[in-house]
């Protein structure tokens, strides 16, 4: 009886998750499998040589351009993550602690407004803002702060960081906001009651309890920015290209899909390793405190 019941329950469960499971298999597992497979093949001019080889990985290791691009990608992602999370925290804190409860959903709604336009258009808008004759430069020249337009804010790494930090801001604000919302306000009063000022209460109670949200924000921003293609393509100029642009070049312009696939795998492994390290460090830090 019990076995029969669990069997039908298991079947029902399988039935329920099968549509998303099939979707995930088709859209995620197969493409990744294909990329992994490709990375062990080689391109022989117009034909694909399907004998197993580590040739692509050796090439990535040997040629300094790939390593340099990967390092730059990690650096840019790191900067974007730091800027985004550090700027997102005060916003999330303000909405959670200083906005009336009845107004909070309005504020969250406002924070999502950038999503109403497409990512591509937002990147173009930043071009308008940061360009040689853009809003920032003409404004600063107009009020006489600078004589010549600034050139370090477009077509380089800085422009990529600024644009990505803006694009990912809501992704950082929302998890931090949720973590702050979950903090029982009587804990903050208890801390003050036990002798801590509002300022030290933030560091002893609020921040440790908001850490899960901060960790989530870091991962949500860091992981996708490493592989971002559009922003460095449009904003990065020659010196601001990242690993994703090289992958695209390999696949299309150079017609070397296997090398591109291997690059993608290496980038993915880097992200995975760094994210796992970050989570592990955080766990230890959090556990060390409690």
């Amino acid at each position: 009886m019990w076995a029969k019941l669990t069997a039908t329950e298991a079947r029902r469960g399988l039935l329920m998750i099968s549509p998303p499971l099939i979707y995930v298999l088709i859209m995620l597992a197969f493409p990744i499998g294909a990329i992994v497979l490709f990375s062990f093949w080689t391109q022989d001019f117009m034909t694909l040589d399907t004998t197993f080889t580590l040739q692509n990985y050796r090439e990535i290791w040997a040629q300094p351009i790939f390593g340099a691009l990967l390092k730059r990608s990690l650096f840019v992602s790191g900067c974007v993550t730091a800027v985004t999370v550090i700027l997102a925290f005060p916003v999330a804190y303000f909405v959670s602690f200083h906005v009336k409860p009845s107004r909070k959903s309005l504020w969250l709604f406002l924070i999502t407004i950038p999503f109403w336009t497409s990512y591509l258009i937002r990147v173009f808008l930043w071009k308008v803002i940061l360009g040689y004759n853009g809003v920032v430069n003409s404004g600063l020249v107009g009020i006489g702060v600078i004589d010549e337009p600034l050139t370090f804010i477009l077509y380089n790494v800085n422009a990529v960081i600024i644009t990505l930090a803006h694009a990912f801001a809501p992704f950082a604000i929302l998890p931090i906001f949720v973590a702050l919302e979950k903090i029982d306000r009587s804990l903050l009063e208890a801390s003050q009651d036990l002798g801590e000022s509002k300022f030290s209460t933030f560091f002893r109670v609020t921040l440790p309890l908001a850490m899960p949200g901060v960790v989530a924000a870091v991962l949500i921003v860091f992981i996708p920015t490493i592989g971002d293609y559009v922003t460095p393509e449009l904003m990065g100029g020659a010196g601001g290209k990242l690993v994703a642009n090289m992958i695209q070049t390999q696949f299309l312009a150079l017609n070397n899909a296997p090398l591109g696939a291997a690059l993608a795998i290496v980038a993915m492994l880097c992200v995975t390793a760094i994210s796992l390290m970050f989570v592990a460090l955080n766990r230890r830090w959090l556990r060390g405190r409690s």
Binding site: A190, S191, D193, G195, E196, V205
Partner: protein, 358 residues
């Protein structure tokens, strides 16, 4: 007894809402003081005013003869046990208890934490994390965390309301013993009249932001100064009456019971000749069962309702000349039957248990 806390003319507004109305009270050193009232009466606001979480709109709050206006909670010699206990979830029990010791280098941390945990009966719980604790244990951690700082006043905001009945009764006794042991002034906020009566040296009963009556538990119960105090604390039967003479002795004619003479002390707020209300507690009335005799006054009535509690039975007995039946509490002593609705019966009463209110 020296006064430790005094509030004079304290008013508090939240926007247009008048949360505290002209509060005047003095709480003594080492006293167990309770603020009792229905929800929304302002008792928690009053406690938070003493703790420093709320400012006052007007009036003066003094702690140890010092005006504490503008002094934030972290600089007041008060500590609080919150209704939710507010145990820090990211810290262990020991770290929770030691939380307030950061700015107290004079106290040796580990010895003090162990002593505080011993005091509340949580020896050896230091390494546990907050989510491993039961409700009663969380409450003990909150107590230890506050008492370790040796405050002048411990403020307790409905600390027992989240516990089940058995646990609550046990903690009532433990809290009283703890208070006697440490000798610190306790101020308890509660809506449970029984809890307040059991634990307190003095009780302030609050309604709508005002203090209705402030007295020791026995006076409060036996000589309530108003109908709402009488009805909030226990049950009381009320009857219309006419006062014919008001001097050292009061002559009063009570509907349904007849004329009698009582002491002036039985009219807590004084009484003039004319119409009045007479209150009598259900347990000071009795039913005369077959074979029992009494030297007290009797009156005949008819059982209107029977509520059986096991150890007690509550009867509503209808008597001539009174609209609402009298509520009578009888212990189910040996040989006493439980009467049925509609049975004729004899009610025993005594003029000494009457309370006369305007």
């Amino acid at each position: 007894m020296t006064s430790l806390i005094s509030l004079s003319g304290v008013n508090k507004y939240f926007g247009d809402y008048h949360a505290l109305r002209d509060i005047n009270l003095t709480i003594n050193q080492g006293e167990f003081f309770s603020l009792l009232g229905p929800s929304g009466c302002g008792k928690t606001t009053l406690l938070r005013t003493i703790a420093g979480f709320e400012g006052v709109s007007s009036g003066v709050v003094m702690i140890s003869d010092r005006d504490v206006a503008g002094v934030p909670a972290n600089q007041r010699p008060t500590n609080m046990v919150f209704q939710s206990y507010a145990i820090f979830p990211h810290l262990t029990v020991a770290e929770n208890v030691a939380f307030g010791l950061r700015k107290r280098p004079d106290i040796d941390k580990s010895t003090a934490v162990d002593a505080a945990l011993d005091m509340v009966g949580l020896t050896g719980f230091g390494h546990r994390s907050a989510h491993e604790l039961s409700g009663g244990q969380r409450q003990r951690v909150a107590l230890a965390r506050a008492l370790i700082l040796k405050p002048k006043v411990l403020l307790l905001d409905e600390p027992l309301s989240a516990l089940d009945k058995k646990m609550r009764e046990q903690m009532q006794v433990e809290l009283m013993q703890l208070q006697r042991h440490v000798g610190i002034t306790f101020i308890l906020v509660t809506h449970d009249q029984e809890e307040a009566l059991v634990m307190s040296d003095r009780i302030a009963v609050m309604f709508d932001g005002e203090i209705g009556q402030m007295d020791d538990p026995e006076t409060l119960y036996r000589r309530p100064n108003s109908r709402r105090v009488a009805e909030f604390i226990g049950k009381m039967n009320f009857m219309d009456a006419r006062v014919t003479r008001s001097a050292a002795q009061i002559d009063v004619d009570v509907d349904g019971l007849g004329a009698c003479t009582i002491d002036a002390e039985q009219a807590p707020v004084g009484i003039d000749v004319g119409l009045a209300k007479v209150g009598i507690r259900p347990e000071t009335l009795a039913i005369l069962f077959d074979g029992e005799t009494t030297v007290r006054e009797t009156i005949s009535g008819v059982v209107d309702e029977v509520v059986y509690y096991g150890d007690m039975t509550y009867y509503d007995v209808r008597i001539d000349g009174v609209d609402t039946p009298l509520n009578i509490a009888m212990k189910n002593l040996i040989g006493r039957p439980v009467l049925d609705v509609g049975e004729p019966t004899t009610v025993v009463w005594d003029a000494r248990s009457l309370v006369l209110l305007p």
